[in-house]
Amino acid sequence: MRIRIRLFTLIFLLFGFSFFSNITFAADEPAKAEQQETFNPGKFIIDHVTDKYEWHIAGPHEGGISVPLPVILYSKGKGLDIFLSSKFEEKEGYHGYKLNGEGHIEAEGGASFYDFSITKAVAGIFLASILTVLIFISVARSYARREGQAPKGFQSLIEPLIIFVRDDIAKQSIGEKHYKRFSPLLLTLFFFIWISNFIGLIPSMPGVMGNISVAFTLSAIVLVITLFIGNKHYWQHILWMPGVPAWVKICLLTPIEIIGVFQRPFVLMIRVFANIAAGHIVILSFVCLIFVFSEKGDAGGWGFAPISMAFALFMNAMELLVAFLQAFVFTLLTAMYIGSCLEEPHHAENH
């Protein structure tokens, strides 16, 4: 009971903070932008969900509050270049690189280069990583400190979640025999995604899981794992399904199964990316509606604001659920893929 109350308090705190700050920060921007040109909600929203070279916190894009982030570029001709993204604002182009209208870096003369900049999303990943590591090392320490005792404080908030991942995801999907090997991976995936999603709900923070590259990386890790750990039984069923005529296998079954191997992590990627990105887009859309209406007159904007806020509030609450759900679904499906790779032949006599 106590754990539940604490969890709710935490969620409500996060929720309240994210909601109110979302509105204040988001509302500042288009209001000022609108004075210069007609408000373009599509551009505004995509600007907010895509990656940036600076960490923009509040205010208009030029002259607002933003944290410059390091840009790391490497090209064969010029070697390694590391500089702050604010350099782009000071003058047009820096070291032969400049920011184009879409916010991408271009080399002068169209030369090719490698971009390993610490963008806003990378910074978000780092933040989520540091937070995850700090939280769980501190929890681990409280386990060491209170050895053989009942959990207390933050430890008792986290413990049911750890047990949930271990018992209801890992043990259930992978099975008694192998689950211990994959528990650390699944726990890390679950908490990393969840914490990233939570960070993404805080306005001005990057919604990293809504970035396709991040989702791609995590799914690629899952793909590589499933490719390496698959046992004989698993590969036999994919490449040469027993008990099916040969021509069916060559023409139909094997190609489908091979596509399936890649399609499953691909779906994993799309699901988490689309859910988180869509959530952000919907919230931003509701906020944008105010400014779309206010273009017809101030009264329209003020009049629609409460309705818009009510919807944005509802969506924020939904997003809190989605943040957990997506972490859970990603971890659960990963566990199920791993489980299917390790499945023992239980009807061997049929083949």
């Binding site: 610490i118 590591v133 650390p184 890390t188 990386t217 690629a220």
Partner: protein, 172 residues
């Protein structure tokens, strides 16, 4: 439609820089957490679960022992009760038997004594009677001698006396 795709395209374009950083960050997080967090946490969770299970098992065992001890105790008590009862019963039987034997013996002894007494009385009586008879015989002979001496002094008288006597004897 075209506008939509154009708007979404930056969303759907992966950037390799971000992929590399994400991979690096995630693998470091995975390594660190595996070493520093999950291993000790999962270990102590397992230990705690085991110790709870052990405690439950031990309590159950202790309870079972208690019940078995209790039933043992009850058995012993019951045994003691039956033992006592049999001992009492045996004692009672023995007492009855002893009393009966003693009574029997006493009765026999009494009878024997009575018979003895009777025999000795009989003997005494017989001796007395014999003695009496002897004395009577003796006296009778003496009397008879005297009478005969007297009677036989005269012939007639002798004759009558003899005849009378004979008659008397015959009558007796």
């Amino acid at each position: 439609m075209t506008i939509g795709i154009l708007l979404l395209s930056p969303l759907l374009t992966p950037s390799y820089g971000l992929i590399v950083w994400t991979l690096l960050a995630f693998l470091i997080v995975l390594y660190l957490l595996k070493k520093l967090a999950w291993k000790p946490i999962l270990k102590s969770l397992q230990e705690r679960e085991d110790s709870i299970q052990n405690a439950i098992d031990t309590a159950k065992k202790a309870r079972e022992e208690m019940t078995s001890l209790k039933s043992d105790h009850e058995k012993i008590v019951a045994q003691a009760k039956t033992d006592r009862d049999t001992i009492l019963k045996e004692a009672r039987e023995m007492k009855d038997k002893m009393i009966a034997e003693a009574k029997n013996l006493a009765a026999k002894e009494g009878e024997r004594m009575i018979t003895n007494a009777r025999e000795s009385i009989q003997n005494e009586k017989m001796a007395a009677i014999t003695d009496l008879k002897n004395q009577v015989a003796h006296l009778s002979i003496e009397i008879a001698e005297k009478i005969l001496k007297q009677e036989l002094s005269e012939k007639d008288k002798q004759k009558t006396v003899i005849t009378n006597l004979l008659q008397e004897v015959k009558m007796n």
